[in-house]
Symmetry: C2
Subunit: 371 residues, 2 copies
């Protein structure tokens, strides 16, 4: 039921999407109740803009989640990127111009304003192509709330915010799965062909990437009555995705495979059952990826130990790191855990770090204003 | 929440168990509502028999379920083993005697009546030890409804039926997790230390084995309003577990690991969400075990193809084979699929086969009568 296929053909879009009910109030997206995907051809229908200016937000995302390596991710609220998008007569019709990139830290300086080399730009162009925009030019400004290479889905957040902004300025014709496809195109160029950040960035909550060809995504609904807080501790340390990927083993023993697969199953069950203890336990139980990557992040083993000793249900590396993520059901307790983790990064890794305590984002990328 | 730990110490039993509500009507087992495990010492308390004779039944089980290799299994109703257990003054107190083994096919002739070498006997002795039975002798007769080495959890069914019979004749003092431990002791001696048959045989439904040390089991509740039928097609072919295990790869590529793990997650999600299409798809998607084992079962690839073409949602090898299992939501449709699978076993593997269409068993091993 909760699966949707996508044939990634330009101009052809699936017209429905398997969001679970907690997202049904996401009025700016087209979310039919049916889970079946019908194909509608949008090739010859160029929509007109319904707004002159929109501002969108996309949350940060935590990918991998321990044994969910490369196929599971979730969105965290209250931290992410903003995109402001305007209909701009100065821009050549059918094109997009990036006018401004702002934000704290290293993000703004390092990013290109060439839309072909910018994750927001690539996703925006992809959505414009899907919508067949030929008569309107757009200008985009990007406000980075996420540091680059932190393991919090920085590139996916920019892509998701841009994709949703373009879609919404033209009346929200495309379903979320198309926006994930657009974001995936961006991710492929910037950080590798993987959907475990872009899918939850756009859809919110937890998303399991079941397959890429065709793209099939399974939203996993964490029960609304349960609280889930993420303690995100970001050290001043560069852990490039490529280097973290090179650290992975190419071959895995059968016993490790069985162990990690069973933990992946337990992780999924814990999310759907709202079982925080089981979730934390599975999150912490990866025997394949974390043991290879943790030694590359100074102090990470000690940080995990400190988080668990301070009462976190589980702890692992967020994405490809270096951010450490711990989980808890109480915000105040999360702050205490964060302090211990920051201390451990300094004490065991000689790294300065900052802690944030953020809730599970159940909505995903969304409009925040429009004119 | 749905996890229970077990410290496998003789004489110490966990006094509660994480059954989900669909099993709460299983009145012959002690099923407290709490999921926490408290330890109670039964060492010095020898219970007295509350019946002179009991008859128990344990369902067959389908282990592995494709990408759930070695950690996932489920019970199927309407086929399994029976145990009749009597308080017998002729048997030395504290001991058990196997008086009779009956059943169709090869089962009865091949099994030892020495309780130390019989899966029902080993499990029964283990439960007697847990209960500290010293003053009562028991005689057991086993009625095999399952063929040996079929991939339908034959040894687990005998062990489960025996374990529950001994527990119940003494008033059902032990929680299900202890009975799984007793059955696991039997499985370890007969077919390898794995709980993916014995756990669902005793608990019913789907069970994920999260860890062995301590034993942690996660029941996965398939929604009660949904129908799930298994088409079980058993060919006349011997596929010994040891040979099927030797066919497994020792090393797995990272890409196969990620694929199978994501399918395991999707399988768990599909069970909990009652998504039969997703369940079938994940069931069929194993890239690690089935490709190695299927070629050892003549015609298996063709049987799978025939099942899917006939409308099954998914198909794979049941346990270590040679039984093929397909899934569907309609009994009549299941019969049609079964016929096609039987034809394919003959046409492509030159093997005679019989098909059965059985429902998901949501209860597990149970008493069927007592005096």
């Amino acid at each position: 039921m909760a699966i949707c296929h996508h044939q990634p053909q330009f101009g052809i879009s699936s017209s429905s999407f398997p969001f679970t009910t907690n997202l049904s109030n996401k009025s700016h997206l087209h979310l039919p109740s049916s889970f079946r995907c019908n194909i509608s051809i949008t090739r010859n229908l160029e929509p007109e803009p319904v707004y002159t200016c929109v501002k969108s937000f996309s949350p940060a995302t935590v990918a991998n989640l321990g044994p969910g390596f490369d196929f599971l991710g979730c969105a965290v609220d209250g931290i992410g990127d903003y995109v402001t998008l305007k209909v701009d007569p100065q821009v050549h019709p059918g094109e997009i111009s990036i006018t401004d990139i702002s934000g704290t830290g290293n993000s703004a300086k390092k990013l290109s304003k060439n839309p072909m080399w910018n994750c927001a730009g690539i996703a925006a162009i992809s959505v414009m192509k899907m919508l067949n925009i030929r008569s309107v030019g757009l200008s985009l400004s990007l406000e980075k709330g996420l540091p680059l290479g932190s393991g919090l889905g920085s590139s996916a957040a920019s892509a998701a915010a841009a994709a949703i902004a373009v879609n919404e300025i033209f009346g929200g014709k495309l379903p979320a799965l198309d926006l994930v496809m657009a974001g995936l195109e961006s991710e492929a160029k910037v950080s590798g062909y993987h959907a475990d950040n872009i899918a939850p960035a756009i859809m919110g909550g937890f998303v399991l990437v079941r397959s890429y060809d065709p793209l099939e995504l399974i939203p996993l609904k964490f029960p609304v009555e349960k609280n889930l807080w993420f303690v995100l501790v970001n050290p001043e340390f560069e852990a490039p995705t490529k280097k973290m990927r090179a650290a992975l083993p190419t071959e895995i023993t059968m016993s490790h495979h069985i162990w990690n697969s069973s933990q992946a199953g337990a992780l999924v069950a814990a999310v759907l059952q709202g079982d925080l203890i089981g979730f934390g336990k599975a999150l912490s139980a990866d025997k394949i990826v974390e043991p290879r990557r943790a030694p590359l992040i100074p102090g990470m083993d000690g940080v995990k130990k400190a988080a668990l000793e301070a009462g976190a249900y589980g702890c692992t590396i967020s994405g490809a790191g270096p951010t450490a993520v711990a989980v808890i059901d109480d915000e105040e307790k999360g702050r205490e855990i964060g302090e211990k983790m920051v201390e451990a990064f300094m004490g065991e890794g000689n790294l300065k770090a900052v802690a944030m305590v953020k809730k599970l984002d159940r909505v995903g990328a969304r409009l925040v204003s429009h004119n």
